[in-house]
Structures are given as structure tokens and as C-alpha cells.
Amino acid sequence: MFYNVAYPPSGSLSKCANATGTSMNRWLFWITVSVGLLLVSAFAGLSFMAGGPMDAIEMVRFALPQMHMGTLKAGDAAPDVRLVALDGRTRFSLHERTGGRPLVLIFGSFT
């Protein structure tokens, strides 16, 4: 009798554990659903930006690793770099084109 009072029957203890487990499962379920919805929304947004689902995948694969904000900011000295002229032989430095007048730099490619 004393034993039963101090230590409730294993049946009731087990019910308590089940209740906690059910609550945890519910939380896990909603967290998973929320994360899933966020991922789906992010993918939909990327697809919209990129032009389609396949483009979104390609964007993540090829574009995002190459896009950088960079550390340069207004007021910094413009870094000097060597460039090649269209003849493929002549090389010149960017600093050769600066000084005297402002220089508008347009970076880009054909595609």
C-alpha cells in the first residue's frame, strides 16, 4: 500500500508521458509545416524573380555564389586593375583613365 502511494502505478505515469509526447509531436508538426511553407514561399519568390522554377535553381547554383556586395564604398580610393584592350594585346591600367575628369565605370557582359 505504502509502495503504491509513494510510487503511482506505472499505468498512470505512462499516461503522463504520452501526453507530453503528444504535445511535443504537435509542436514538431507545426514547426515542420512552418519551415516547409517558408521554403516553398522562398522558392516561389526566387522563381518569380528568376523567371521560372528551373531558373531559380540555376540562380542559386550559378548566380548567388558570384554576387557580392563588395567592401568598396563611396570615399574609398578606387582600386587599380589591369585591363586588356579589344585588340587583345594592349594592356592599360584603370588609373590611367582617372584624374582630371570623373570616370563612369560600366561593368557587364554580353549575355
Partner: protein
């Protein structure tokens, strides 16, 4: 190119050709396909290939701006975080005066025009002014029609 025509007497311009953004072997865009813009190149692996594409570009568009090509170590691209496209203005003292955002979404030539206009005055075009007048007249006419039908 219009900005170049408008301000080339006040500022220098330099186009820097960097690694391709949408080559055939990476993320090719549908708009670049043969039946559309027909801009189909693989990512250049040698400087000769890069120079050849840059020449194709300037010839195809009769591109008048001074041109430089980034070396294969992508030094210019790396130094200026330029890929896929970006605009800068370096002032007379060699310091960065304007840094544009990453293209295509934050690539905004209007900001460059605004900078140049602030320093050298706004350049107005008859075509633009006429278009603006046409728009105003059109809006007024629509207002009249709407008022008349009431």
C-alpha cells in the same frame, strides 16, 4: 549610351567586360536563345575567347564607349564586386563617388544620370519633353471626356 552622348564632354566613360552572366554552360536565359536575342556563348576559358565575345558585342551594337576587358583572373570583377553588372563613378581625385547596386535588379543608370546632372546640369531631350507633353495632354483629354460623359 544616351548618358554617354549627353555627358561625354564632362566625364570619361569606360566599359569593363567581365565574365559572362548567362552563358550556355551555366545559367542560360531563355531571352538569350537563338530565336530571340541570339546571344549564345559558353563561358570563356581563355582571354582570346573573352576578347572575341567582347568584339562581337561592340560590333553588333556599334558600341561607342571606350572598352576594356577583364583578365582571366577576374581581377577587375573581384576588386569591384562587379558581377553580373554594376556601375561606379570615380571622381577627379581617384575616389569612388558613386557605387551602384548589383544588377540586374539594382543596376540603375538613372542614378548615374542624376549624379552627372547634379554636377554638370541636366540634359533635356526634345523627344522626352514631347512625350511628357503628349502624356499630360492625353490625361487632360481623358479627363474632359470623362467629364463630358457625366
Amino acid at each position: 549610351m544616351q548618358i554617354y552622348s549627353d555627358y561625354k564632354d564632362h566625364a570619361d566613360f569606360l566599359t569593363v567586360y567581365i565574365r559572362e552572366a548567362h552563358p550556355l554552360d551555366e545559367w542560360q536565359m531563355k531571352a538569350n536563345e537563338k530565336d530571340k536575342d541570339d546571344v549564345c556563348y559558353v563561358q570563356p576559358r581563355t582571354l582570346e575567347q573573352r576578347i572575341a565575345i567582347a568584339n562581337d558585342f561592340t560590333k553588333r551594337f556599334n558600341f561607342p564607349l571606350p572598352f576594356g576587358v577583364d583578365e582571366m583572373n577576374n581581377a577587375a570583377n573581384n576588386a569591384y564586386a562587379a558581377w553580373p553588372e554594376r556601375l561606379y563613378i570615380i571622381d577627379e581625385t581617384g575616389r569612388i563617388s558613386y557605387k551602384g547596386g548589383n544588377g540586374p535588379f539594382k543596376y540603375d543608370p538613372k542614378e548615374v544620370r542624376a549624379w552627372l546632372a547634379q554636377h554638370y546640369g541636366e540634359v533635356k531631350h526634345a523627344g522626352r519633353a514631347q512625350a511628357a507633353v503628349r502624356e499630360v495632354v492625353s490625361v487632360k483629354l481623358q479627363g474632359k471626356e470623362y467629364g463630358a460623359s457625366k
